[in-house]
């Protein structure tokens, strides 16, 4: 089962290393981990996807929380949330016919062509992982030359609680 954790962490050198080291040391498996800035200066936010049971994810969260630079961890798997994965997919287009066919598929998936080369084009897709997976499956027969995905980012709907101010 995949569980999604959100960790707000201090934006300092070495923090990512501490988090990664913890996962290695406690033998937790990370499916994906993304880091980026937040609305607050000096605070970064990690979206961590682990392949684990609920109680396993709770252990991950509790151990992460013990890291001094980790401000607040939350398992949002059971909350209503928006999750997104971004993919850039470079596909072969040997002739105009395949190119036209591809454009149609991309349209259907509400993805975008962001670069057109002589024999390739780059598709940008944003959506849930399932949607991106679906697009990738359809594009594969055309010949995927290169692909990169960000991994899951997530945000709870409504008034967000993952702020980390302790009372």
């Amino acid at each position: 089962m995949k569980r999604t954790l959100i960790a707000r962490v201090e934006d300092r050198p070495g923090v990512l290393n501490r988090v990664a080291s913890l996962f290695r040391r406690r033998a937790f498996n990370i499916e994906s981990l993304t880091v980026g800035h937040t609305e607050e200066p000096d605070v970064s936010r990690m979206t961590i996807v682990v392949d684990s049971t609920q109680s396993g994810a709770e252990k991950v969260a509790q151990n992460l929380q013990k890291l001094v630079n980790v401000i607040r961890v939350e398992d949002i798997s059971d909350m209503p949330a928006v999750t997104r994965d971004v993919a850039l997919i470079k596909v072969e287009t040997p002739d105009n016919r395949t190119r036209a066919e591809l454009m149609q598929i991309v349209d259907t998936f509400r993805a975008r062509v962001v670069d057109v080369g002589v024999e390739t084009l780059i598709v940008e897709a944003t959506g849930t992982e399932e949607k991106v997976d679906g697009l990738v499956d359809v594009l594969r027969p055309f010949g995927i030359v290169e692909m990169v995905r960000t991994g899951r980012v997530a945000m709870v709907r409504g008034k967000n609680v993952n702020k980390g101010e302790s009372k």
Partner: protein
């Protein structure tokens, strides 16, 4: 006030209340050493940095204050590692300060450069590489705060040479530490859990309280006694929990676990409720997990949420400060009298006493280490601080020196670090100059940090060393005797003359091979005002040379191997 980084180190240590540090200077930390004499802080020059970390640890455990170790970069820093890991496993508050090559050289494989913050990442509670002298004061303040707040642990500060040399206007950090992440740890409200715990306690018939290191760390000894007396429950202790509940109390059940007391292990296996307080169900405590306390519901109280439901899933997990939780529980539980349960338990006690080696009154019985420890206990009226190394003698010290007070038994529990005993005893003696400190060590482990005998002499510390001279890496040999066809592969020790060795360092020493010699050596060593060592030549193998009871690897607690009965010690 303009200060150098080096001066800020001492200024801040002074402000944090540090009176003594343990260390060895070297190229990358010399600059910090230079102004030391201006600050009136005592520096104990150890002979190996491992000794500095263990001494700081022993100091911390004996005093309840933060211990401090200092080392140079590279090999000095890496020599601290075993001591840091030991402190981490036993939640001991120490701060280690290491020199580092100049900032401009970091990452270039400079002379004596090592990535000590990287190396110690998983074995410190937190660590710092200070790159700006203006951060130094607040980093030190934070480090001391972290070392002893929440669940205590080691913190390391790595100081590049140029930061030590740089000058800046010294601004004392504000008292309050701003650590948003750390503050969050204490937040959950345990009220509901405590109410549910009280229900379980009131409805059980055969409770056992499991008291761990957390009891003394939370200073919850009195609360524990009141609680145990109110619910009339026997109390078993872990190795590090010794002294958290008085061994002389009628509800005391002994130590649990691999070499625990039989009555404690049996009670756990028969209990219908375990109340685990500030302990963490280590595998040395539980034996085979799948058959651990099969009839018992479980309540677990711990300050560290990550310990709850880690190895054992419990019926009620209380995430709280232990003292607070016990005081909250107290008015919620019924006062009870559990006569029937005590009758069962006291029968088990009787059986344990009957097979106990020190109750075998045999005229020509050979000297065993249990006899030695019992003799030291009687001579010191159980009031010494006992610091051990790791091995058989450690288990015997735990079993036979009865502890009525907290912080009187200092031992490496979680990591099981041979070489811990002597330097930790040295630290403990410095923390408690008026206490009688006994280091109980093995002939294997003593030699891992034996050079600290020189430190003991240089600092004129009157510690008494009881050497369990059994000519073997005894604990390993015992396993070989019991489980490996007596194939004593690589465990026999050809030892130096320990009496001469001690004397070469300037330490008075005696050799004792029988009960009379042992008694007289103990008297003389105690009467001697300086450091003393007694080389106890004890039974090497067989019944008097093995630690009982023993829960073999993979066995459940009740499947422990008991001492054969009746026994004549020292034969075979």
């Amino acid at each position: 006030m303009i200060l150098t980084g080096a001066q800020i180190v001492w200024e801040m240590l002074h402000r944090e209340g540090v009176e003594v540090v343990f260390g060895i200077p070297g190229g990358a930390i010399m600059h910090t050493y230079h102004p030391l004499s201006e600050y009136g802080i005592r520096h104990v020059l150890v002979r190996h940095e491992q000794g500095a970390a263990h001494a700081a640890d022993g100091y911390a455990r004996a005093s309840g204050k933060v211990g401090v170790a200092i080392a140079t970069s590279g090999p000095g820093a890496t020599n601290l590692v075993t001591g840091i890991a030991t402190a981490m496993m036993d939640s001991s508050p120490i701060v280690c300060i290491t020199g580092q090559v100049a900032s401009s050289l970091i990452g270039t494989d400079a002379f004596q450069e090592t990535d000590i913050t990287g190396i110690t990442l998983p074995i410190t509670k937190h660590n710092y590489l200070v790159t700006d002298v203006d951060d130094l004061a607040s980093v030190i303040h934070e480090a001391f705060y972290l070392a002893c707040h929440g669940r205590p642990g080691p913190v390391l500060i790595d100081l590049p040479k140029d930061v030590q040399q740089a000058e800046t206007e010294f601004v004392p950090p504000t008292e309050e530490v701003r650590l948003p992440g750390h503050a969050y740890i204490g937040v959950s409200d345990p009220t509901d859990a405590i109410a549910r715990a009280a229900e379980l306690i009131d409805s059980c018939e055969r409770p056992v309280i499991l008291a761990g290191h957390g009891v003394s760390m939370a200073e919850a000894e009195t609360a524990l006694r009141q609680f145990a007396e109110r619910i009339d429950s026997p109390v078993a202790v872990t190795l590090l929990g010794k002294g958290g509940f008085p061994a002389s109390h009628p509800l005391y059940l002994g130590m649990m676990g691999m070499h625990g007391d039989a009555q404690a292990n049996r009670a756990i296996q028969e209990a219908d409720l375990l109340i685990a307080l500030g302990m963490r169900f280590d595998d040395r405590v539980t034996g085979d997990l799948s058959r651990y306390a099969p009839h018992a519901r479980k309540i677990h109280v711990d300050l560290d949420a990550a310990e709850l439901n880690k190895l054992i899933s419990v019926d009620v997990a209380v995430h709280a400060d232990l003292q607070r939780a016990l005081l909250d529980l107290l008015p919620l539980v019924d006062k009870r009298d559990r006569k029937e349960w005590h009758e069962v338990v006291s029968e088990w006690w009787e059986e344990s006493r009957a097979v106990d080696v020190i109750n075998q009154h045999d005229e020509d019985a050979k000297l065993t280490m249990p006899h030695v420890i019992d003799a030291i206990r009687r001579s010191t009226h159980g009031e010494a601080i006992v610091v051990t190394d790791v091995g058989q003698h450690q288990m015997w010290a735990a079993q036979y020196y009865r502890f009525d007070r907290p912080n009187a038994f200092i031992t490496s529990g979680g990591l099981g670090t041979m070489g811990f005993g002597l330097p930790a005893a040295l630290g403990a003696q410095i923390a408690r100059p008026d206490a009688e400190v006994w280091a109980m060590v093995g002939d294997g482990g003593l030699q891992m940090t034996v050079q600290e005998l020189a430190t003991v002499v240089q600092e004129q510390l009157p510690i008494k060393i009881a050497l369990c001279d059994n000519g073997y890496l005894g604990m390993v040999r015992q396993w070989q005797e019991m489980f490996y066809d007596k194939n004593y592969e690589s465990t026999r020790l050809v030892n130096p003359d320990f009496v001469k060795l001690a004397e070469a360092y300037g330490i008075r020493a005696w050799r004792a091979g029988d009960h009379d010699q042992a008694a007289s050596a103990i008297d003389q060593a105690r009467a001697h005002r300086g450091p003393a060592l007694i080389d106890f030549q004890v039974v090497k193998e067989g019944e008097g040379g093995n630690v009982y009871p023993m829960v073999p690897a993979g066995a459940a607690l009740h499947e422990m191997i008991r001492r054969p009965y009746p026994t004549k010690v020292g034969e075979r």
